[in-house]
Symmetry: C2
Subunit: 319 residues, 2 copies
């Protein structure tokens, strides 16, 4: 069985391109270019809680980094460095190889250096910390929303949650639909490029990891404002829309995390800029509502009635 | 049961003093003063592997940060920021309160801002990432040792490992001795101040987390050199020395991690400076051997015979 040091060396000691000292010392060393601030986020993924223990390791490696890239995207920052701490129930070399490939393939795609880590024996647990750069004062924060801002989301919501509901047999989808949706669950595309473009346009941003309602509520809380969201405007796949009468599917749309799309607010005057970004990136950006003074989050149905919000938002601890 | 967000707010959302944006956004934001580099290290502590699941939560919180401060100390850097990701089997408020107090008390002592985190339900797992500052080019690295350097260690070695051996009933110590040693196991003092002072004196440094032989071997490997260590010179407590005929106790001294003392190398010409640091800090600094060209680590007994090295070094995965 390979030792910790061998595992680190074989699978995680990759060349770095923007790092003074990477894996292999007590700590890594990096330099921040002048005029920039460092953006830092950490996410822990626990087997049985955030993913099924038998999830394909390549996809799990990919997703472990993707969800962290998503946090950097939501700050309007450029990802640069990452560390990875792993607890593994056994030193299964094939598993580790595939996991590291999923992780490192995505790291390479976004030019992120893996600069440190820790491997341990224990119940499967993946803890990633990511760092990125943003010009000083330019980060997209949750507390920047203004009354009158339009609320936008990228891509389609609810696909990942619907795929999960199908896996959990809360709903029964045909195989072709389930296969199409699983990509959203296992291989979400972090919206890094979008985050960078929004820096000059948006007032506030968050990534949708816990569900639209729950994450938008964070913007509202930090900005001390409220919002009106139009349910019918929330972008969704044609598959999801087929089942929209089902309460579970509504919950997927409003409360399903794991899509890792961005939710952001911007002044009405920038809506054309946003539509231009959407066109240039070939990525749907959809206005779903507006920020209001009244500190309340209201979701309105097609005839303007207030919808009841049930269990919306994924709490990693309670719930 | 408090939710994730409530837990974060109640126990971990502390005031920050050197941070642009702390807990509560997608990511934290920090600024690095010019002329400095950022030092980053991550450590994962797994219940049943690194600590007993019933360890006093205050001590566990303390130690989770202490072992990370130790990595920063070994780089000769000043700790500044930390993030904490936790998986907890249940939301036991008392446990979390005590854990956060142990963690935050030590953070305050070293003026470290807690800037981010993640709490999840899952088998107990603590993942800490620490960041510190060092003037550009001044970090103490593992690859800087030179042939002829003296090898030094701080404090006393083996106490934590002996306390653990006693807990595991591999040896039977009287209660007063066991109590004295347990402090080394549960509340190691990170050698941050020493690390800062060594920056202008030492050629290389590492913190002893896996055991003297194993950690010194990392310096040798990275510096492409060997070492001769004199067993009798390795500093030890009077308690440990009483049992030195016991093989287990020898292993504690050579292979016991968890003391988190520093091992460093420095040219002979700086030995007086090192002794002055020792005196000023009231901290034993002991020369235990020297760096040699021949790429081999030899430990010599009191009559100059080479000692056999058994199981020295703690491998978090194999072993």
């Amino acid at each position: 069985m390979p030792s910790e040091f061998e595992i680190i060396k074989i699978f995680f000691d990759r060349p770095v391109s923007q790092t003074i000292l990477g894996v292999g010392d007590d700590a890594a060393l990096i330099e921040i270019p002048s005029g920039h601030q460092l953006v830092i986020s950490t996410d822990m993924l626990v087997a049985g809680r955030h993913f099924f223990p038998d999830t394909d390791p390549y996809k799990l490696g990919y997703k472990s980094l993707a969800v962290n890239l998503s946090d950097i995207a939501a700050m309007g920052a450029a990802p640069r460095w990452v560390t990875l701490a792993l607890a593994l129930p056994e030193a299964n070399e094939n598993w580790i190889r595939d996991f590291s490939k999923g992780f490192c393939d995505l790291a390479e795609q976004y030019k992120v250096d893996l600069i440190g880590g820790d491997t341990n024996r224990g119940p499967l647990n993946i803890c990633v910390e990511i760092m990125g750069l943003v010009p000083a004062g330019k980060a997209l924060r949750r507390d920047g929303a203004k009354a009158g801002d339009q609320i936008w989301v990228s891509g389609e919501l609810g696909n990942a949650a619907l795929a999960l509901a199908n896996l959990q047999q809360k709903i029964k989808l045909p195989d072709d639909e389930s296969t199409a949706l699983l990509k959203a669950l296992y291989m979400p595309k972090p919206r890094v490029e979008l985050g960078l473009k929004l820096r000059e346009v948006a007032h506030s941003a968050i990534d949708i990891s816990d569900g639209l309602v729950s994450d938008l509520a964070h913007i509202l809380e930090r900005s001390k404002l409220g919002a009106r969201v139009y349910f019918d405007k929330i972008p969704r796949s044609s598959i999801l829309n087929k089942y929209i009468g089902n309460e579970i599917v509504k919950t997927c749309l409003l409360g399903g995390g794991d899509d890792y799309e961005l939710c952001f607010t911007a002044p009405l005057a920038r809506s054309n800029d946003i539509l231009s970004i959407s066109k240039a990136m070939n990525l749907p950006l959809t206005c779903i509502g507006e920020i209001v003074q009244d500190k309340k989050l209201t979701v309105l149905d097609s005839v303007g009635n207030e919808m009841q919000m049930m269990q919306a938002g994924f709490d990693h601890f309670g719930g």
